[in-house]
Symmetry: C2
Subunit: 109 residues, 2 copies
């Protein structure tokens, strides 16, 4: 799985506009090949910091999107940020859940 | 790197209390071995959905925390959620930035 995270500080007066622009990018992704999920957040302490997350099954699925208008629009939105945005691509090779935490805690007893 | 994500729907009347509880967990992490980052968000559309993210250099660093009071407190907070919370541990083996996106787009020309 490849996870894309975008942390972006926006100008307060443009915050809702930027959130709307990102939200409008999300809906078409639902039908994209290899799409897993997409989420949009505001920082709990600073509402002007936006956090956007996409998850894709494979690198190929993500690259298809990177070459599409989806990423042209995403990069345009990033250019409107108040500070240099932080875009990161994380290659995730293993995913575990609560059972891992529970097992690690039991092992310690 | 190991990334921990917690997505949690909280009762509206307890939202600020839960955010405060999570925030109070974050500060001591700054001094923990292998700590990279910790962030707390609200969903852009539903403020009752909280998203909490921790990043650790290694599995060993994370397991040390899992066996500590930090995770005892985190698990207690999760028990107060309005719906079953979604805890995920992602093993990240490669991290890239904007340069990857730019290269992938150039390759397509």
């Amino acid at each position: 799985m490849v996870q894309v995270t975008l942390a972006m500080v926006v100008y307060p007066r443009r915050r809702e506009e930027m959130i709307h622009a990102l939200r409008s990018l999300m809906l078409p992704l639902l039908a994209a090949p290899g799409f897993i999920s997409c989420r949009l957040f505001r920082d709990a302490d600073n509402p002007n910091t936006i956090f956007y997350v996409e998850e894709w099954h494979s690198q190929g699925d993500l690259e298809l999107q990177i070459r599409s208008t989806h990423y042209s629009r995403l990069l345009s939105i990033m250019e409107e940020a108040a500070e240099p945005p932080e875009l990161r691509l994380n290659w995730v090779t293993e995913v575990r859940g609560l059972e891992y935490v529970e097992a690690a805690r039991v092992c310690d007893r």
